[in-house]
């Protein structure tokens, strides 16, 4: 199948690659760029294990074509730590998942983190109900979500504190 050249900025680095038009974004990231953080769980946009950030929106990369991202900016879990506001080694959402035991098998975690990162920009001080609604596109089979809610709350508090310090 004829390939198409695309140019995508992934985690801050421009990637010029030739891809088949049918190549899914998730396969492009995982197989072309070896960014295996985001996973495939369902192929139908339901589980969110493949969630990445495209131009400021949470996107399920298992039902998104790589060619749709030509000229876009993509953020995956691998690029998250570099965005830590306080210069730490982990982003606040990563730290929250660690401190609040927000993960078990870890398979949904990269998608959860990237969704939480975007969600907290959409809503920096959410209620529990808002967190549950805002994160509902990502499934977890291990945690029962309760500690993920706490992890997002932890991150929200930390991000707000960092804002105050840097303001």
């Amino acid at each position: 199948m004829a390939k198409k050249l695309i140019s995508v900025k992934v985690n801050g680095r421009v990637q010029d690659k030739a891809v088949e038009p049918r190549t899914l974004l998730i396969h492009f990231l995982r197989e072309e760029l070896n960014l295996t953080g985001a996973h495939i769980g369902c192929e139908t946009s339901h589980c969110g294990a493949c969630t990445v950030d495209v131009d400021g929106h949470s996107v399920k990369a298992c039902t998104h074509l790589a060619v749709q991202c030509d000229g876009s900016e993509v953020l995956t879990v691998e690029g998250l730590a570099s965005l830590a506001k306080d210069g730490g080694v982990l982003h606040a959402v990563q730290e929250g998942f660690y401190k609040e035991h927000g993960l078990q098998c870890g398979f949904c975690t990269p998608g959860m983190l990237i969704r939480a990162y975007r969600f907290l920009q959409e809503n920096p001080s959410p209620s529990e109900t808002e967190i549950r609604a805002g994160m509902a596109g990502n499934l977890c089979r291990c945690t029962g979500y309760q500690n993920i809610v706490k992890a997002v709350q932890y991150a929200a508090a930390k991000l707000q504190q960092t804002e105050k310090v840097t303001a």
Binding site: E20, R22, T23, H27, R30, E31, N34, L35, T36, G37, A38, H39, I40, G41, C42, E43, T44, H46, C47, A49, T76, V77, E78, L80, A81, L90, Q94, F97, Y98, K99, H101, L103, Q104, C105, G106, F107, C108, T109, P110, L113, I131, R132, A133, M135, A136, G137, N138, L139, C140, R141, C142, T143, G144, Y145, Q146, N147, I148, V149
Partner: protein, 804 residues
């Protein structure tokens, strides 16, 4: 162990992060940075991809199979069918249950989505193109979906390959679609109890077929090195050593040249215990082609063809006195095993530990019988987050006790109080022969009833029932479950003849850090964190410097794997006992260094002190160094130990769960207002991890009770094999969980631990049913079949005449 009070001792104890500490998880660092290593992340040089041609029909003869077009698809390397596997005698494979299963369909298909052929190609897209191009002609056969219909005289024969076989792995077969009849308990004593009992109740209970549905599907990368004759396979397996033995037996490759690696696993829940055709075909393809071959299922394949759970049709009966004392329990089960008997149970137990169904109650006489039946559905019958068939058993007894309470007009809590095995009766011999290790059910029950103010809840319910305008029906569910986990004693339990022990090897390094290797494999349970905590307390080495490795058969000692809550009860014991061997040697070294006798030493957190003079001591760090340069005469250098632990008994965790639901009389929607879960798993290693496991298990229980099912139409089509249809609760539906605990250690386990991760699944499912049925109890309803979806509950509202 008493907590030290001296501040310096406390500081030293805290530095270890040992038993009882809510230590943060060691495995998280890689997962939160996208550096996990799951099977689909593995990429080997020259790796090919495999995809599977599957049957659209549930029962059909294969008239022809043409792979010529597929072989012309760009990128396709090979297409394998049963005929290609026949010369290797690999077109059928043995199952864990003593049956055989088709690897690739041999002349006929027995269930929808059965594996018919595999395509190997240069990438996954080409493999999928190849699958599309394989042309298979089928001739449809009559389909048998209902296990009762399967046993009718003259029913369509599903397994023609078994023609003439009048007995199977578990005794006589009475019908071509009959697999086994297994029973336990005392039939005549039970029948006698029923013959004279003043009160009897009977209830049919259907436990629907469900799927464990871990977020990561199954898959493998098989890599055969034709020069060295070695096979390495990375696969999603909860039992890598057993797989190595099976692969060696099937392939003829010596076990020493087979290496199975379970990398990070994205959830198992029983789904990743078995050996699936995809694994076998990928291994064959790698051997034939001399290149690594990757096979990764998609979600539809996972739900449709890999191991399901449950599908038990149960008839329960209880005999009792008028004041609610249970005299007898009788159970008959029809178990739908699908087209091949691939149940994952210890060899001698074709219905697993179903005979734990006398539960937490002192029942004098009991009998159960389970009949396994073939139907045109996918094979399986695994324990979905439970020990073998314990979920079914607990559901049965908890529902039946509720039914009896209703018949007698007794409160659910009161009937349990009257029938509990009392604290002083432990160790308790059950009517089915289990010896329960320890328990204190009555104390746990009262703790829960007080915590939720049960009396007030019942008063609120009575007031709502009295008000005809109340928009909701309120239900209270109560369950007091006992599990049997930690399989198991090798005199009773084996898998393919291998006893169900587990193992640990610990090496302590000269500078005082250590590595432990295990026969188990974490699928999210935090073994790397919690196992290190056991060693830390046993040896006085900080858990931070203890590495735990599992899952690689070339480095780990042989173990039976992780399922049935066996990691802590069995492998956890192996760890403690391996550590104690090291501790004993360390004491000898300390005595040698301090020039005193061993009896002159006291152990204190991380060191040996000379009795009466703590200023003369050797820390574990001192001893580690000495073990490599200054040991007593005649002692071997080094500080390491291996222990293979064959448990003397199972462990019996228990819990009391209470649930309050409000059912909308207009829509049938059930809102879980409150769920209170008290668990007793004996000694608690890491309370944070335990709580996380309980949250997860409760959520999976909620999924089963409230929405999961695998419905089939009359043609055997599975009507829901994507996450669009198959219910996995999101953040929004999932209730808030309240957790609590009591601690009743297991007397036979080295650290008193019982296992925990499956209790919340086992215990919560009947609690939800108990709550939903309770909402209708005053209307004469005794049971409602799961899942309790709004539609089903709405139908009950209509039938009971209370819909708004």
């Amino acid at each position: 162990m008493n907590a030290p009070t001296d501040p310096t001792l406390l500081e030293r104890k805290d530095a270890l992060q040992g038993l009882g500490d809510s230590r943060l998880r060691k495995e998280d660092a890689r997962f939160i940075q996208g550096k996990g290593n799951y099977v689909d992340d593995i990429k080997l040089p020259g790796m090919l991809h495999m995809d599977i041609v599957r049957s659209p029909y549930a029962h059909a003869r294969i008239k022809s199979l043409d792979k010529s077009a597929a072989l012309k698809v760009p990128g396709v390397i090979a297409v394998l069918t049963a005929d290609d596997l026949k010369p290797l005698k690999l077109h059928w494979m043995p199952t864990l249950a003593g049956d055989v299963a088709a690897v690739l369909a041999d002349g006929k298909v027995h269930f929808q989505m059965q594996e018919v052929a595999v395509v190997i190609a240069e990438d996954r897209y080409a493999a999928a193109d190849g699958v599309e191009a394989v042309v298979v002609e089928y001739e449809e056969l009559p389909v048998v979906i209902d296990p009762y219909a399967a046993l009718e005289p003259g029913a369509t024969v599903i397994r023609e390959d078994l023609a003439g076989k009048t007995s199977g792995a578990h005794g006589a077969r009475e019908h071509p679609n009959h697999i086994f009849t297994w029973d336990a308990g005392d039939a005549s004593a039970t029948n006698a109890a029923f013959a004279t009992a003043p009160v009897t109740v009977k209830q049919h209970l259907f436990y629907p077929r469900v799927h464990p549905c871990p977020l990561e599907t199954c898959g493998c990368v098989a890599s055969f090195d034709p020069v060295r004759g070695e096979l390495v396979t990375y696969m999603t397996s909860q039992a890598p050593h057993v797989v190595r033995t099976v692969v060696s037996l099937l392939s003829g490759i010596p076990e020493s040249k087979v290496r199975i690696v379970s990398p990070d696993i994205g959830g198992g829940f029983g789904n990743k215990v078995g050996v699936y055709p995809g694994y076998v075909c990928a291994i064959v393809a790698s051997i034939v082609l001399g290149k690594p071959v990757k096979w990764i299922e998609d979600r539809v394949e996972n739900i449709s063809s890999t191991a399901f759970a449950r599908d038990y049709h149960m008839d329960g009966e209880i005999a009792a006195t008028p004041d609610g004392k249970i005299l007898g329990l009788r159970v008959h089960v029809i178990a739908d095993h699908g087209a091949f008997d691939a149940c994952a149970d210890p060899t001698k137990f074709p219905a697993g530990m179903f005979h734990i169904c006398s539960g937490s109650y002192d029942i004098p006489a009991a009998y159960c019988q389970v009949k396994g039946v073939y139907t045109n559905k996918a094979p399986g019958g695994v324990a979905y987050r439970c020990s073998f068939r314990v979920t079914e058993a607990v559901y049965l007894v908890e529902r039946m006790v509720d039914v009896l309470a209703q018949k007698l007009g007794l409160d659910k809590a009161e009937i349990r109080r009257r029938n509990f095995i009392r604290k002083e009766q432990f160790p308790y011999k059950s009517p089915f022969g289990f010896e329960y290790d320890s328990g204190d059910y009555a104390t746990a029950l009262e703790k829960v009833l007080t915590a939720v103010d049960y009396t007030a809840l019942r008063a609120e319910q009575a007031a709502k029932r009295a008000d005809p305008h109340c928009p909701t029906l309120m239900g209270i569910g109560l369950v007091s479950f006992t599990e049997v986990v930690g399989a198991g004693p090798s005199k009773m339990c084996d898998i393919l003849g291998v006893g169900m022990f587990d193992s640990c090897e610990i090496r302590v390094h000269p500078t005082g850090s250590a590595i432990a290797r295990m026969g188990t494999i974490s699928t999210g349970q935090a073994h790397a964190t919690t196992y290190a905590q056991i060693i830390a307390t046993e040896l006085g080495i900080p858990s931070e410097v203890i590495q735990v490795e599992e899952g690689d058969t070339s480095t780990a000692p042989y173990g039976l794997g992780t399922y049935g809550s066996r990691s802590t009860p069995v492998a956890g014991a192996a760890i403690a006992l391996a550590a104690r061997k090291i501790h004993a040697k360390a004491k000898k070294i300390a005595a040698h260094l301090l020039e005193v006798g061993e009896n002159d030493l006291d152990w204190e957190i991380d060191r040996f002190n000379v009795k009466g003079d703590a200023s003369r001591h050797k820390t574990m760090k001192d001893i580690c160094w000495a073990a490599y340069n200054n040991v007593p005469a005649g002692m071997e250098m080094g500080l390491e130990a291996v222990h293979y632990y064959d448990p003397p008994n199972f462990t019996y965790p228990f819990g009391i769960y209470l649930c309050v639901v409000d059912i909308d009389r207009g829509t049938g929607e059930t809102r879980v207002r409150r769920f209170y879960a008290l668990d007793d798993c004996g000694t608690r290693i890491n309370p944070m991890v335990i709580e996380g496991q309980i949250h997860g298990g409760l959520t999976e229980g909620f999924a089963v009770a409230m929405g999961q099912q695998m419905p089939f139409d009359a043609q055997g089509n599975l009507l829901g094999n994507t996450l669009m249809d198959y219910f996995v609760p999101t953040f929004v539906e999932t209730p808030h969980w309240e957790t609590d605990h009591t601690v009743t250690p297991s007397p036979h386990h080295p650290i008193g631990a019982k296992g925990v991760a499956e209790s919340p699944h086992v215990g919560s499912i009947p609690t939800f049913t108990s709550a939903v049925v309770d909402a209708f109890a005053h209307l004469g309803v005794t049971h409602m079949t799961m899942p309790h979806t709004s539609w089903r509950v709405w139908q009950q509202l209509q039938a009971s005449g209370v819909a708004l």
